[in-house]
């Protein structure tokens, strides 16, 4: 039996394996270094050409040379063979090289297994629906190639059908395992540093242009489902990191430990659930002002809700917000002090303007109002493409360029306030969101990223002031697309205003959301909830029993299905065998029924006479099946036979 493994491949088998290799590596072409794609492509073309020309595969020394060259290149590129990207690159290299030494069944099986493994690696980059569909297709091709290794007699069409049929039969097992296999939340071992590349989101610092860059990404930052109706758009300030320290160019969070938080709520709370896309930072985006924090999260004295670990996977949180609140009306002196601090000697023009306002104002809120009026009435423009600013960036912005995005306005406003003696700071986060009418989720994208300001007024606590609203009120009321002039570089789909296209997008996003919530979001917690619905505790023992039972049932069903019909031969043949059992004489192999009856006649003429009609009807029923009556006649003839004891 072992000889089948060493079997050389037949001529028609390699193309199937080429297809499998192509289907599993092709999507990686976009992700990996260009030289690896080129190298793999050349190896692939070489393997295909050698097969086409029916030539010998290259010898061991050339393969060794290629392997060493490939591995050294990967080492040079990634400085490792083990990280996530380097590991994938190594697998792709192995796959391409294996095609050049595909001689026996065993080599081909290695290609198949490598292919299955490569399928998994695609999920490092994306787990959305199109990826899932492509991988189903790729798996189909790999399985077809696997079948081709063990059945040369199938036609290509039958081969593909067989692969599809097997995959479909495997689906119930997948469902059962997906629902019941005990979920362990990873990681099991230290993740390599490049485990979470390609995430986007707010950063913990803000310089002119940083948010404008983020806004140009259309990715979804998080989704929200409100228990009741969504609040008005103007209230949807999703609070991220608070930036208090300014060096003249860049805003950063304060190094000071936050003090206590005192919130006096007035009015009803808003209850909602967010599904946060991974962004690699610790903060969770929460509606102002977050109260009753979920387990495992905390605030830092500035109302930014943070988790204990960076958000590296999609997370769901149940949150509450108090839309009307009084926050820290008795702020600590250290905090007030820090929020008045500015780099000394910078932005002299801004400083004198602020001091002017301070002299004219009766109370701090007048200065705030004055600043907003200034933004509203002077010729300020809201744009994603602001000019570069010089060393005194705020002077440049306020008196020269006057074109900026939300971070410019927030920063300029805070600098003005601090110069005028009002404690102020920059708050970053997201503003607004888009309600998807298809599933009722509010979708907040990177393009909704925003920066605003907070000022502290004695007796009123921290107050939110959004200077962007003074410059471009549409931004807050309707969203960024309406606020920006035509021709600004926004993601193309955001600019689509056609109704049917927008509806199509809503549908697609609702589908994606359902996929995220129910398929990708099925974790240990959901598993426990699911089992609890049937009255089970989800300890591992229950899961193990449920899992084995369910798998056994599915296996039984597949067995019954696969082994059903065929336990009996065609009816005519069955009657023919019964006739022989009945007379106790058997037709020898290779003996025709007519020869059999002749032989019978030689030993027992009487029996042969009675057996003769059986033969006649059997031949008719078996070889002229369009005649339906012959089967009944055969049955009758068999029943007329005398019974003999079996010798």
């Amino acid at each position: 039996m072992s000889s089948t493994r060493e079997q050389p491949l037949r001529r028609e088998q390699p193309p199937w394996l080429f297809a499998a290799a192509l289907a599993t590596t092709l999507p990686h072409v976009l992700q990996q270094p260009w030289w690896l794609s080129l190298f793999g492509g050349v190896l692939f073309a070489m393997a295909a050409w050698l097969w086409y020309e029916d030539r010998r595969l290259p010898g061991r020394w050339l393969m060794l040379l290629l392997a060493v060259a490939g591995i050294l290149s990967i080492l040079a590129e990634f400085r490792s063979l083990l990280g996530r990207e380097a590991g994938v690159a190594t697998l792709v290299l192995f796959m391409a090289m294996k095609l050049l030494e595909m001689r026996s069944h065993r080599d081909a099986m290695v290609v198949i297994l490598l292919g299955y493994f490569l399928l998994l690696t695609h999920y490092f980059h994306s787990q959305d629906i199109p990826t899932g569909l492509w991988l189903l297709f790729a798996m189909w091709i790999v399985t077809a190639a696997q079948i081709r290794l063990h059945a040369a007699t199938l036609s290509p069409r039958e081969n593909l059908q067989q692969a599809a049929s097997l995959a479909i039969q495997a689906v119930p097992f997948m469902l059962v395992l997906y629902l019941l296999f005990p979920r362990i939340s990873g990681p099991l071992w230290g993740l390599p540093e490049d485990a979470f590349t390609g995430q986007s989101g707010l950063s913990d610092s803000m310089a002119p242009g940083s948010i404008a860059n983020l806004v140009q990404r259309g990715d979804i930052a998080f989704r929200v489902r409100f228990d009741e109706a969504a609040p008005a758009r103007q209230q949807l300030y999703w609070r991220g990191p608070v930036l208090e320290s300014f060096d003249g160019q860049t805003w950063r969070p304060s190094a000071r430990r936050g003090g206590r938080e005192k919130i006096v709520e007035s009015g009803p709370r808003i209850a909602y659930e967010t599904t946060l896309e991974p962004h690699g930072q610790r903060w969770l985006l929460a509606l102002d002002a977050p109260v009753a924090l979920p387990a495992g999260s905390s605030t830092d004295g500035r109302l930014t809700v943070s988790a204990t670990r960076p958000v590296e996977s999609r997370q769901r949180h149940r949150l509450f917000a108090a839309p009307a609140y009084l926050f820290n009306d008795d702020e600590a002196a250290a905090s007030i002090d820090e929020n008045l601090r500015l780099p000394s000697g910078s932005n002299p023009q801004t400083r004198s303007l602020a001091l002017d306002w301070q002299r004219q104002a009766k109370q701090p809120l007048d200065i705030v109002a004055r600043a907003l009026t200034h933004f509203r009435e002077e010729a300020f423009h809201y744009t994603l493409q602001p000019p570069l600013l010089g060393r005194d960036s705020m002077d440049d912005f306020l008196f020269r360029t006057r074109r900026g995005f939300c971070e410019h306005y927030a920063a300029a406003f805070v600098v003005l306030m601090r110069n005028a003696g009002i404690p102020a700071r920059v708050v970053t986060g997201y503003q607004g969101g888009e309600l998807n009418p298809r599933d009722g989720y509010l979708v907040v994208r990177q393009s909704d990223a925003h920066a605003w300001a907070e000022v502290w007024i004695a007796g009123r606590g921290w107050l939110r002031v959004d200077p962007t609203a003074a410059v471009a009120p549409e931004r807050i009321e309707r969203g960024i697309v309406d606020a920006l002039p035509q021709g600004e570089p926004l993601p193309a789909f955001l600019q689509v205003r056609g109704d049917w296209l927008r509806d199509l997008r809503y549908r697609w996003e609702a589908l994606n959301n359902a996929w995220n919530q129910h398929v990708l979001g099925y974790d240990g917690q959901r598993q426990r909830d699911f089992l609890a619905r049937f009255g089970f505790d989800a300890d591992w023992r229950t899961l193990a029993i449920a899992l084995s039972l369910a798998c056994a049932l599915v296996l039984l069903a597949v067995c019954i299905w696969a082994l059903r019909q065929h336990s009996r031969p065609a009816p005519a043949l069955r009657l023919w065998h019964r006739a022989q059992r009945r007379i106790g004489v058997h037709c020898a192999p290779g003996e025709t029924p007519l020869a059999f009856v002749t032989r019978l006649r030689a030993t027992d003429p009487a029996l042969a006479d009675r057996f003769e009609p059986v033969v006649r009807h059997f031949l008719l029923a078996r070889y002229a099946p369009q005649n339906k009556t012959s089967l009944a006649a055969l049955a009758a003839a068999v029943n007329r036979l005398p019974r003999r004891r079996i010798a």
Partner: protein, 315 residues
């Protein structure tokens, strides 16, 4: 090792199936993961660890789908043998040192074809075949025949890895078939004093034309007298030339005519060569063994009878 065989008999129900057709049922089919299957399982474990570590929901799904595929593949490997009907065919006699080919009749009464059926009776020699939907085929199983006598068909392993190669399903077939193995022929001149017949060279056998006789089925077409046959009415049987040499002297192929110094098998081989030569030359001859005499006759049936006697002879 009869004890081991008895144990296997008890455990696995290995048996001599006799000549009745056999249907492969649950008790006759065994199934175990193949080496590829174990490797596949190992790959799945590594993939599962990666999926857990990187928290890939779809990675879990892929691993579970592949695990399901493996299980389904197991059922289908089993199904590929399940319900197959196998009946012994026959086996043409061969000469020692050749390869005997035992024919089995494989009948698939399922409306779906079966692929990748591997028959193997001895190591390193297998036959791979497929059988279509509701089809019956003959499979020749090669078995080397090293020595004369009856060669029983050893236990045949019918195995399959179809469809995915992850499991090997197999069944043991042991029909009570045997094949007659003639001694390996050694071609030496026919015994002395025997006149050479037609076509074989030195003496003038061709001149001793003795007339025509009707052709029998055993006569080679080369000996047909086409001209003489064509002269006559087409409905008559063909004629064959007869030569005087054959009828005059009686050819006896005797054990005692071989060199007693040689060992028994060689002597039998020489006699086998004689029988073949004499049959090929259309001579009539008798065969005398120490314990048996086969009377003078000719034709291929006579030749086969003599060869069988030589094959089964016990000195």
């Amino acid at each position: 090792m009869p004890a081991l065989q008895a144990l296997q008999q008890r455990l696995f129900g290995w048996r001599d199936d006799g000549l009745a057709p056999v249907r492969l049922d649950r008790r006759r089919i065994f199934i175990l993961p193949s080496r590829s299957g174990l490797l596949f399982a190992l790959t799945l474990v590594v993939m599962l660890l990666a999926a857990i570590n990187y928290n890939l929901a779809l990675g879990h799904a892929l691993v579970f789908l592949l695990a399901g595929l493996g299980l389904v593949g197991m059922v289908h490997s089993f199904r590929n043998l399940y319900g197959l009907r196998i009946a012994p065919g026959h086996c043409r006699p061969v000469f020692a040192g050749d390869t005997a080919e035992f024919t089995l009749l494989i009948e698939n009464d399922r409306p779906a074809s079966r692929h990748g059926l591997v028959f193997q009776a001895e190591p390193g020699r297998s036959t791979t075949t497929a059988v279509g939907a509701r089809e019956q085929i003959r499979v020749g199983i090669p078995v080397s025949a090293p020595q004369r006598g009856w060669l029983p068909l050893p236990r045949v392993v019918l195995s399959t890895r179809y469809p995915l190669g992850l499991f090997t399903a197999w069944s043991y077939l042991q029909p009570g078939m045997r094949c007659l193995v003639y001694p390996a022929p050694l071609f030496e001149p026919l015994p002395a004093g025997v006149p050479n017949a037609d076509g074989s060279g030195s003496a003038g056998g061709q001149e001793d034309f003795a007339g025509f006789r009707q052709r029998q089925a055993s006569d080679s077409l080369r000996h047909v007298a086409w001209k003489a046959s064509a002269r006559d009415d087409a409905s008559r049987p063909l004629l064959v030339k007869q030569f005087a040499g054959g009828s005059d002297s009686r050819l006896e192929l005797a054990w005692s005519a071989t060199d007693p110094a040689l060992d028994d098998e060689t002597r039998l081989s020489i006699m086998t060569g004689w029988v073949l030569a004499a049959t090929a030359e259309q001579q009539s001859f008798s065969l005398r063994l120490p314990d048996r005499l086969i009377a003078d006759s000719s034709g291929s049936a006579h030749g086969e009878r003599c060869l069988e006697a030589l094959a089964l002879f016990r000195p």
